[in-house]
Symmetry: C2
């Protein structure tokens, strides 16, 4: 007996029902990216390991999928090479790997095409990435990222536009309730580190403060001690745990707290400028932006404003995030390429839309009407009608062979097709067709010359 | 010095300019697939090698990209295992591979989901595939396929609909001139083999006849001799080389030639039925369909009608093709799953559209207007306008920082943005903005309250 085929662990098929919903989300994301002047880019799934290795830390290097060289990859391998161990041996027989994110390939693209691009270069990229992480609920080894970046500018208009795009996609278009756009600034964190007498240790401070939401103040303090912060440092940090909630008050508080820190004051000035741009763009809307000094974001290459979007009272993690970086392409020898980028978490947005029941009904099905199939005679009657409806722009199909009607209705039901059309001998004699509304169960005889008008009213 | 990053041989980035054109083609293909009731499906890039191996012949097995197992893949490897050679050793350290086409993953999906699907199951799938072929002009190691298949039915309506879809995408929508939809039937080829006394040898006959266009009659005859056909076989084959050109005459000729062949007559009956369906769907259109008995298509799993689309007088190869199969999923233990499928060759269609200069101008750029950036004062004036235009549905951007105007105009030029808007102190004083049409060079002062109306007329 043949073995039943399987999928690799941590991967999945996107069924038509899932695809329709994913495409619904993606089409809104794309439209908004393009409305803001971002252009599409796609890079190959395979990158040279020399491009990928060393960019994601040691753990990342291990999680990279490596692709065996084609042909006789053992040609220059000696038995003693096996003693190097899997990590090093892998590099002897694999030159390529699957992309791990969209940022490194984007940086590679910018460096390779720096003389042809119009800077500031604004691109978006929606493609899968692969990570050999242990699979768990909601975590896959292949998943999509939806990134937008602008490189070659320091303008804070870009940060304001990121907030506008997040708000338009998540709020105005997808209708998500209760989401918050958290914003912070790496220089504010640096300023705080300076102010508490732990200058230069903002990375360690970040890692600990980042967990405030999850583990609470006490454990954060314990972790800070373990990370080498002194009791004095932690004492000086106390006001930060009681920062005011309101954005304006918070910025005022920070401005005072950081007044002697040059770097901290820069961070504050940036935040104020971003809010001013937002106000200029749109003074009518109250954006759900929250200054959150516990927001640190893990990625070490951020140097300016950082963002993260979460939905209140949701089990789903952050659904969007990003930040500004000084030096995207330095690792490839091109210095000073500053920019800011963010991404939407497609799978998590999907989960939130399900949670809040926000997928519109039409993402259930694309086919709008099914012609049933009685026999050759009815085919003759029906095929020209089918063509007419398609020409009028409807998504329509005929059950391809004549079989029991209930089987054909089941097909329509399973595919969630809203209308089923039946042409029996009675109908054909009268130049009519019976149309059944699958949702209401209502059935009507329609003159074929009125069929288009009927669907114009119904759909 | 850092090394300049590179791309793996045989792969490429799709730049924004290419992406816009590719998306133009893909959106038409998708719309037509969905209009005919096909639903989207996506499968993971990685498949188990047990699913992929043995499906594409020995050469295919070699061209598959194999992915190194995660973790300590050498754990159970002994030095003597290296003696197995690369081919066998690969299977010891790699369990997964990249998909080689969309058909095998589709068959795997159908088998794994057979109890949940609505049959006949109609899916389309537009995704990249990977093959370790030697790269050459126009041949890449990563390329896209756009497949549509319907499985679970023998109805020839499906074949007629394939012709309708090919004609709508390539002709009506993309406007390609001089394309021909070649059609043949595997049973006609079987009938011919039988008729010339070489029953059961239609595969060898196919392989040779397939080359008639390329190498001519004499060399085909030589090849047939080499493949074990007798002089008598070849003598009996002669009428086939002089088959009439006109479809109807050709079908009549074949009907006569194959009248004693049961299988050949079945093939003829199918072709006639397909043409009848086409006529029923649309008696007004003269479809560019050509019965071509030299068409064989390489894939051995085809058992019924086969299709191929070529453009006359074009350097580009076939741009679409497909056929009917009896048994898609037999290799995975599910028997009798008949269907028919076809695909569009995205890269080749792209080349034909370039050859015939058919890409519309708007696929050059998505951004429709650029606001220049003078200084903070002009930003204040311009940002609310930018928001208004975006709200009205326009794709608009602002040059994010104030810099020399000619640099900003160069940016617009490079990005092929059709309109550039300038708000200097004069304009601002009068509540106006200068709009430059980048194509005509024409410049106009517009009252800001008239800006939307202006673009409504222009775009």
């Amino acid at each position: 007996m043949k073995q039943k085929p399987t999928l690799p662990r941590g991967t999945r098929d996107y069924t038509p029902a899932m695809m329709l919903r994913r495409n619904y989300i993606i089409s809104h994301i794309k439209e908004v990216f393009e409305k803001f002047g971002f252009l599409p880019l796609e890079t190959p799934a395979m990158e040279n390991l020399s491009v990928l290795m060393g960019k994601y830390g040691e753990e990342g290097d291990q999680l990279l999928y490596k692709i065996l060289n084609q042909g006789d990859f053992l040609k220059n391998v000696q038995p003693e090479d096996l003693k190097k161990g899997s990590k090093l041996f892998a590099l002897q027989i694999a030159e390529k790997g699957l992309r791990y994110d969209l940022t490194v390939p984007f940086a590679r693209f910018v460096v390779m095409n720096q003389h042809d691009l119009a800077f500031p270069f604004k691109r978006y990229q929606i493609q899968p990435v692969w990570r050999g992480d242990a699979p768990q609920k909601g975590r896959y080894r292949e998943f999509y990222q939806c990134d937008a970046d602008v490189v070659g500018t320091n303008s804070l208009i870009c940060e304001a536009e990121i907030i506008l795009m997040m708000n338009e996609v998540l709020g105005k278009r997808l209708g998500i309730q209760g989401f918050e756009i958290k914003i912070n600034h790496r220089k504010i964190l640096a300023g705080i580190a300076e102010k508490i007498g732990a200058e230069g240790k903002e990375n360690e401070l970040c890692v600990a403060i980042d967990k405030l939401d999850k583990i609470g103040k006490e454990k954060v303090e314990q972790e800070l001690l373990q990370r080498g912060f002194s009791e004095n440092n932690i004492q000086a940090l106390q006001p930060i745990f009681d920062v005011p909630a309101n954005n304006e008050a918070k910025i005022q508080f920070l401005e005072d707290f950081l007044q002697n820190s040059a770097v901290g004051s820069e961070g504050i000035a940036d935040l104020k400028q971003i809010f001013e741009y937002l106000q200029l763009f749109d003074s009518q809307t109250s954006f759900p932006v929250v200054v959150d000094i516990t927001l640190a974001r893990g990625l070490s290459y951020y140097t300016g404003a950082i963002f993260e979007v979460k939905v209140k009272n949701s089990a789903v993690g952050s659904i969007s995030g990003g930040g500004r970086y000084d030096n995207l392409t330095g690792t490839f020898g091109l210095q000073g390429m500053a920019g800011v980028g963010f991404s939407f978490g497609l799978d998590r947005i999907y989960d939130v839309l399900e949670e809040q029941n926000l997928f519109p009904a039409q993402t259930q099905s694309t086919t709008q009407m099914l012609f049933t199939n009685f026999d050759k005679e009815s085919e003759k009657f029906v095929l020209p009608l089918l063509k007419k409806l398609r020409d009028a722009g409807y998504k329509a199909e005929i059950y391809p062979q004549s079989t029991k009607l209930d089987k054909q209705f089941k097909y329509a039901d399973k595919k969630q097709i809203p209308f089923v059309l039946v042409a029996g001998s009675e109908e054909m004699k009268n130049n009519e067709i019976s149309v059944k509304n699958m949702q209401t169960g209502e059935q009507k005889r329609i003159k074929i010359e009125n069929l288009q008008t009927f669907f114009q009213e119904q759909l």
